[in-house]
């Protein structure tokens, strides 16, 4: 029982990371129908920038965090303007391929900037696990990650439900033509959506840095798994991203304890296959019904 509860705690912490990243994918896909395969590398850039400001330049953590967010957002906005948008004007199939190429490009370009070593990022509140009971504990950093995830989810949902811009994003996702007729500027909504997506990925990057070897490859597998979580939950559906992220985190944590940790990375794919077999539109995805 204790082992099980410990797994659940670790799974929720892992799920929190997947959730933030899955949301960063899904907000882009839901609003603009763009699957940005470079999202994991945006996360990596956020993490390395956080490391550069907080550790290398010894800045205050929050100043470093905000700088990392701003620069990461700018990077994705520049990519959108210079590469994604011009390509999207030709075909969305090309864009799909371009985002895959962008992932590789960002990884290599980051090596030039940050070097190819692995760094370690100090735990923000120390690495000594907090004992919940004698046998169950949680690393303070994981507690922070779960807290950050909860705050981000609340802020995102309030933004989407309560602000005019959030409503316009929903409108664009449902019917971009009608949204244009309401006077919504598609280009502006695109920029805001990319900015939110990059901000979420960079926040995840900085807060999870102490749990990983900080290097330029750190985003590749995490990005892919978060994408799987988003697709599992129903790509484009925010609640689905949370459900998918949490399920994936829990399955990985439980599976690597009870089945084998050697297959840890395979669980995501197996889970994806099972879920898409049973529900092709994802757990909370809607079937696309074209009304005439």
């Amino acid at each position: 029982m204790n082992i099980f509860l410990q797994c659940v705690i670790n799974g929720v912490a892992l799920g929190a990371v997947y959730t933030i990243m899955a949301l960063s994918y899904t907000i882009l896909f839901g609003t603009l129908r763009i699957a940005n395969f470079a999202q994991g590398d945006i996360y990596m850039i956020g993490m390395l920038l956080g490391f550069t400001f907080y550790v290398t330049a010894s800045m205050n953590f929050f100043v470093g965090l905000i700088l990392a967010i701003i620069i990461t957002v700018l990077v994705l906005l520049i990519i959108d303007r210079l590469i994604y948008r011009p390509i999207l004007r030709t075909s969305s199939m090309y864009l799909f391929i371009a985002t895959i190429g962008m992932a590789t490009f960002l990884r290599n370009a980051s090596q030039l900037v940050f070097g190819s070593e692995s760094y370690s990022f100090p735990h923000l509140l120390g690495s000594k696990p907090l004992q919940i009971t004698e046998e169950i504990s949680i690393v303070p950093q994981n507690l922070i990650i779960i807290g950050v995830c909860i705050v981000l989810v609340i802020v995102l949902f309030l933004f989407m439900r309560k602000t005019k811009t959030g409503l316009a994003m929903s409108a664009v996702s449902m019917n971009p033509f009608a949204a244009a007729l309401m006077g919504v500027n598609y280009s502006k909504i695109t920029t805001i959506t990319y900015a939110i997506s990059a901000a979420m990925a960079s926040i995840a990057g900085v807060f999870t840095a102490p749990m990983y070897n900080v290097n330029t490859t750190v985003g590749a597998s995490l990005g892919l798994k978060a994408l799987i979580a988003a697709v599992m939950g129903g790509f484009g559906n925010s609640v689905g991203a949370i459900v998918g992220g949490m399920i994936l985190g829990l399955v990985e944590a439980l599976g690597s304890t009870y089945i084998s940790s050697a297959y840890k990375d395979a669980f995501a794919f197996i889970l994806l296959l099972i879920i898409l077999f049973l529900r092709p539109q994802g757990i909370l995805g809607r079937k696309r019904i074209t009304k005439v």
């Binding site: 007729l181 309401m182 006077g183 919504v184």
Partner: protein, 237 residues
């Protein structure tokens, strides 16, 4: 009277398809002008060009004396043109109220929308009962009411309506036309594209007949109702 809309020798293409081949049209402030024509004549294309969601190949569009030929739709809506698109195009997952809120997107955040809700709910009481229902769950007629109401929320000076009567029961069409007359009396100029030429000519001041991308003829609606060519082609003899 002053001219609110002036379209001059407008052409537009979908790829290699030439949908408008030089359309000119003028609308006076306060008028109801109808555009009739067969399927594929270019009526919807004309409205899309006016509101700025479609690129024009040549020609000009002027709104209240300003050239808006190359202006983006977000700015054009702000200037005072709204459109009720063909096929309603309701935001299906948003509630009726949220759809209306989107209609008021270009208005300032501080503005109180209560008088506008009162206005549209006054015209369409059915919508008030459905205020919290998802747009996609409304009936076709209710969606059309919502599409008209949503367009009114921006307080347009010029309202473009594409196929008001499409797929609606005759009683409902009558009451929608009455609602339009009401909206027009309150000061909104209306350009109405219609399949139901009979109805449209009865309710409008002037009419343009479009055939394959050009204006075939135009004139006072009352005269066109009596015109033999119009009667033969569009009014069933």
């Amino acid at each position: 009277m002053s001219t609110i809309l002036k379209v001059n020798d407008l052409t537009a293409h979908y790829g290699s398809i030439n949908a408008l081949k030089g359309v000119s049209l003028e609308v006076e402030k306060g008028e109801i002008v109808t555009v009739i024509g067969a399927n594929g004549a270019g009526k919807s294309t004309l409205l899309k060009c006016i509101v700025g969601v479609m690129n024009k190949s040549s020609g000009t569009v002027e709104f209240e004396g300003n050239d808006i030929t190359r202006t983006g739709s977000d700015k054009i809506v702000r200037m005072g043109i709204a459109m009720v698109p063909e096929g309603r195009q309701i935001f299906s997952e948003l509630s009726v109220l949220e759809n209306l809120k989107m209609g008021a997107y270009t208005r300032s955040k501080k503005e109180d929308l209560t008088p506008d809700y009162d206005l549209v709910f006054g015209i369409f009481p059915k919508l008030k009962e459905r205020a919290h229902q998802k747009g996609g769950n409304l009936s076709g007629g209710e969606q059309q009411m919502l599409a008209v109401s949503r367009a009114l929320m921006s307080r347009p000076k010029l309202l473009l309506i594409d196929e008001l009567s499409m797929g609606l029961a005759p009683v409902l069409v009558e009451s929608l036309f009455d609602a339009l007359m009401d909206i027009n009396r309150k000061g909104t100029t209306i350009v109405l594209v219609e399949q139901d030429a009979n109805m449209a000519l009865k309710f409008s001041n002037r009419a343009y007949v479009i055939e394959t991308g050009i204006v075939a003829f135009s004139g006072k609606s009352a005269d066109l109702l009596e015109d033999d060519r119009v009667r033969e082609i569009y009014l069933g003899g």
